[in-house]
Symmetry: D2
Subunit: 416 residues, 4 copies
Amino acid sequence: MSKGKVCLAYSGGLDTSVILAWLLEEGYEVIAFLANIGQEEDFEAAEKKALAIGATKFVVVDVRKEFVEQVCFPAIQTNAIYENVYLLGTSLARPVIAQAQIKVAEENGCFAVSHGCTGKGNDQVRFELSFYALKPDVVVIAPWRDPKFFNRFAGRNDLLEYSASKNIPVAQTKAKPWSTDENLAHISFEAGILENPDTTPPKDMWKLTVDPTDAPDVPEQFSVVFEKGLPVKLVLDGGKKVVTEPVELFLEANALARRNGVGRIDIVENRFIGIKSRGCYETPGLTILRTAHVDIEGLTLDREVRALRDQFVTSSYSKILYNGMYFTPEGEYIRSMIAPSQKTVNGTVRAAAYKGSVTILGRSSETEKLYDETESSMDELTGFSPEDTSGFIAVQAIRIKKYGEAAREKGETLSL
Amino acid sequence: MSKGKVCLAYSGGLDTSVILAWLLEEGYEVIAFLANIGQEEDFEAAEKKALAIGATKFVVVDVRKEFVEQVCFPAIQTNAIYENVYLLGTSLARPVIAQAQIKVAEENGCFAVSHGCTGKGNDQVRFELSFYALKPDVVVIAPWRDPKFFNRFAGRNDLLEYSASKNIPVAQTKAKPWSTDENLAHISFEAGILENPDTTPPKDMWKLTVDPTDAPDVPEQFSVVFEKGLPVKLVLDGGKKVVTEPVELFLEANALARRNGVGRIDIVENRFIGIKSRGCYETPGLTILRTAHVDIEGLTLDREVRALRDQFVTSSYSKILYNGMYFTPEGEYIRSMIAPSQKTVNGTVRAAAYKGSVTILGRSSETEKLYDETESSMDELTGFSPEDTSGFIAVQAIRIKKYGEAAREKGETLSL
Amino acid sequence: MSKGKVCLAYSGGLDTSVILAWLLEEGYEVIAFLANIGQEEDFEAAEKKALAIGATKFVVVDVRKEFVEQVCFPAIQTNAIYENVYLLGTSLARPVIAQAQIKVAEENGCFAVSHGCTGKGNDQVRFELSFYALKPDVVVIAPWRDPKFFNRFAGRNDLLEYSASKNIPVAQTKAKPWSTDENLAHISFEAGILENPDTTPPKDMWKLTVDPTDAPDVPEQFSVVFEKGLPVKLVLDGGKKVVTEPVELFLEANALARRNGVGRIDIVENRFIGIKSRGCYETPGLTILRTAHVDIEGLTLDREVRALRDQFVTSSYSKILYNGMYFTPEGEYIRSMIAPSQKTVNGTVRAAAYKGSVTILGRSSETEKLYDETESSMDELTGFSPEDTSGFIAVQAIRIKKYGEAAREKGETLSL
Amino acid sequence: MSKGKVCLAYSGGLDTSVILAWLLEEGYEVIAFLANIGQEEDFEAAEKKALAIGATKFVVVDVRKEFVEQVCFPAIQTNAIYENVYLLGTSLARPVIAQAQIKVAEENGCFAVSHGCTGKGNDQVRFELSFYALKPDVVVIAPWRDPKFFNRFAGRNDLLEYSASKNIPVAQTKAKPWSTDENLAHISFEAGILENPDTTPPKDMWKLTVDPTDAPDVPEQFSVVFEKGLPVKLVLDGGKKVVTEPVELFLEANALARRNGVGRIDIVENRFIGIKSRGCYETPGLTILRTAHVDIEGLTLDREVRALRDQFVTSSYSKILYNGMYFTPEGEYIRSMIAPSQKTVNGTVRAAAYKGSVTILGRSSETEKLYDETESSMDELTGFSPEDTSGFIAVQAIRIKKYGEAAREKGETLSL
């Protein structure tokens, strides 16, 4: 008699295969779930394996479109970035996968969901907080935090032996000395040899981008058209290739960045649980689109709106995403602030990718007139009286003169 | 009978030469002042010319050391950046020059200071607010905002004719189709053909860096050692070249970046006076040192201190610098927050410069132990119970479950 | 031949009467405009006087309803407050009046608008920035900043003499030794004897509230019902009096506060132009409604939404209002953040007003369930495992133990 | 054979008496610790009881002076406040008590500390995070989170029965229907009948202040002198009573507030662990001193320093205190920002307390000249040209006119 149905996030790899078998052993019925979020994966092999181990059912859900449109694009609109460097590639995927998994769980009458995340990482938090928001009564089974499980499977050998005992086929490829997580927007590399933060990642680790030294010797020009802050057109090959459908555009941006070695990151970051952790990431297309977006905002976004958005929305939303707080009141609140900030972000950025970097070549907007060539010209007086600036400075100086006078009176000298 | 002594910031160029002559014509005695802040300049020629035109005295002040140590280095410590892109190269120089000019003015009994800044830019504001703080009773003569002056000299031809009439020698080199401002840390290019924000800067405009396509084909490795957030050692050539003296280190970082094409920026930014303006900048060494500093903070700075510093100090200080508010109560206040944030920022960053980009290769710290390889390892349980994370998540989930429940009760569906 | 039509904000007082006459003398045709924003005013007398002096037309616009609904209510929703104390009573009125004045100007073919604000205050800025946003090509005539005017009318006597010469009737009541500005929400007192910040305002200065010592000896209970953060019902007299229409509700809140001496403020504040200024204010109803709103948010608003709103929206919007930036991109942007923050702010606050203070007696919400009596009870374990908190604390402690260890290692002692 | 020495925070009440006995039963040796932080307490009775139950030693530490000087005064300097209302009275005490307890633990060779906090509150977090920072290797025994304990003592009856069985004397006074926590600065009331947020606290609950309706019928005037933001002198009785010693001053402020009914708060707040909770607080003296401090900052603090301090330091520090993060890197960092903000906060505030409220009567400063009566006067032109403001407005308007023009061009109408 089953203890009930569990929907397990199943990748086909060693860990989740062992978890699947163990859940069955524990008396649960298991629905294996696998999100297609653009990772390189043999979905058929995973299905075959899951069913062979004993899953009642194997469900793949293609979430690529909503991943790009609902999550990656708003991230571009906010210039989301964590600790100055990380473009949040993994964080962005988690709420999308969690939502699909909960849907599968509900459709299949599962009372619980399970995952193979370790007990020290961010992903367990991101998944579970999303689960709880979407289905507050769900039970979460996290084997790597359950002493019954983690004490039994203390090392890789225990997993391998258990697999053998259960006739679970194990890939014969040698395990890489790091872990990865991949989706349409990015791949992460961490753990293993990367745990020494002074170890330079080996050249053959990187997967989604060519090594900058191997990239073409000629900069590749392209342009991105934005409407309300969303990339709506990517133009390549001097206009010969034009893509507009969101997923296609995103994939094309990935390919462009990949061949030019753009989007690699190496960082020691602060995990939500308070541990520092070293991660290497490739985020090809997102890097290019974000860079272009930052630039077009220069031309089209009001200074004060930008300042408020930068200080408030960008930093808050990045932290919310990183900490797995997508489905929260504050996540919803901050997302409501994105569209109103992007009303005027309309225009075209021309840029070039070259051996690891992206360079802006120019930008224009047909509809937005905040930039005024004549007005900004130092040589022109049109519509602007230089004497006004004297008044502006004089008023700014009121407070500052007082500061200088107070210092003088107290015998202090202001200096650098 | 003189109307009094004026200390004029004199560059030797057409504008300030005309201003010098005009001030004399207006009845002032003029002390010509020129700061050596690392720009490429023929100081002797400038002196000769100033005296020839009629300046009472010509004073050069070498401010390079204080520029690097008092202003550029704290900017690195705060990761200062304006509107995501601009490293504030011009802004950083202004308070240094202003302080030197006021000192010269006071030593020479000048009641007024004068400059050749236009009436639409940031620099007039930056200079004058510094003047007023340092010497609240100073009089500022800003000819380009004085109708008597700007109506008389409406175009370049008027300046040239006036120069001829006054026997002021004019350089026969053709004027560049843009303006520049240069110092030890950076050069700016703006105005002229750059006023069209969609015009790609010509290759021969750039001055402080080689074109990335012309840079060496092999990445150049280097390392930077930080103490309390300050770069104290730059190691090049596989250890063969080591520099530690601040100015020397800065110059060496410049040279490293220059030969690898690192530090170019092209931006449409928001000036303090509310106009958008297009600027192209080269900030070679600062780009490299800032990148390394951001990285070492990942290893050595507490998460929450970093978050507070990023959201509060970095953004506020960048705006303060950009708007010329260096010598203000808030400038002083924010600067008091730099050192306390950098106590633990001690360590070494290894990186490589290559054709326009800087890549981090690894980092280490002998003294700071915030990063703990064993602890962050996904495979280790040392000093950390995975069950603790269950409690952590459960507590985080209290508020979030309520959010999900409220949505369910109101018949709403949470979704991406 | 007229130099064109000017729409003058006309109060009927000495200053604007002189301005009206002066504008006519200068050759303009004048449309006199007076907003009814709830101030105590003899509108008929003003009309008679304006026409007698020579205005072509006199237009009163009743803006009370939009003042309350469009501006005061959102201010309550954001708990707007400037420098911890000032409830922005004057600031709130300015965009409402400016919008009405521009409408009158446009309907009457005026190329210019004019006002009687002095050159050192906030109101000139608030009015004019609103004018320029609503009608960018409008000309603003600000006599108190025009040397032609202010040099001629250097003191009150000059105004009186000019009035006499123009047969402008002047009220025989002795001028008060301070200035006031009044509207439905508040009255301000400043200048005159109040300029000494250590002078206690005389008891008979206050106008909209009774002196707390003269207020009833028994606390007066009332309750306010909020929907989406808006006050939708005010209940008085133990339920005998219930008001729901916004303006009526606001007026009733004013009356309630008035008779209980609630809403007086005395502050030295920082004006936008950088001068410090002393102001005394009465904001009766707004004080009561804001206090109740702050309280109901405690019961119904998510912690993180509240924290984000407090740190960014409240402070930014208060500054935007104070500085007259209502009709700006950032004003529009921040206002878009109000409604999304108030979705759950539904409930009832019971309170009492008594001799100058407002005391909360209790609060409840039928629809919002964020507060859970059982759960928050220290005696109950329902739905909550105390061991979870151990995990929560353990994870929070990871980072903090490191801090303690680092201090110990470096021989430092952490202490208060 | 003992399992080692535990330092227990012992109050003499039922809970910690049972915990003491239980710890002994579990095989620990117990050092009973009691901080004198100004609460009403029978220290001798507690000592007698602790020793009778079996404590090895009873140690009282008087922390009143450091509580006032090291923690309460900096809270005044930052105007610390949580969720607009709560003055953090309990939060302020926790790090002081924790520091004393760790000192006692170390001096007595204890490997562990223990406390009687429940598993749902803030105080467990505040104590334990402080313990871990001050002594990272300390073991914390939290019986109310230990199933062995809380399952055994499920209700008050279990505690009473156990007390009887151990011959622990129990006070015969009937338990109040709420819990309290008291110190020199404040008392809190929560739980019990207060858990219904709509229940008005009974009049006899309040302890540290008289009911406003019972307070004197005449406002009581007083003045507070601040130096660098610290209250250094409190003047009462028209100058007849002057106190300057910090603790004495604080106690006198308490007495002043108490007799005038000042300092009561009733709030639903958000606990760190994500639960909402209703609390009633009395914070008499702190309310008065904070109100005066806010006022003197108006006169003496630069606008921009104040704005930065308000938006970042006040809100961050309040949250840090509330969440028990005093001894953390961010706590240390934020505290380093207090003194630099208070350099100019020197002056005297005159005020009156009356039936629950505090009213400012005036303020002055002999040393600070930021406020300039002449300058702020609307009637004076000294040192200020009204035309400057025209320039100031014109420059501010550049951006805003563009906003209006863009709206017009797009056929939109800006409106309230």
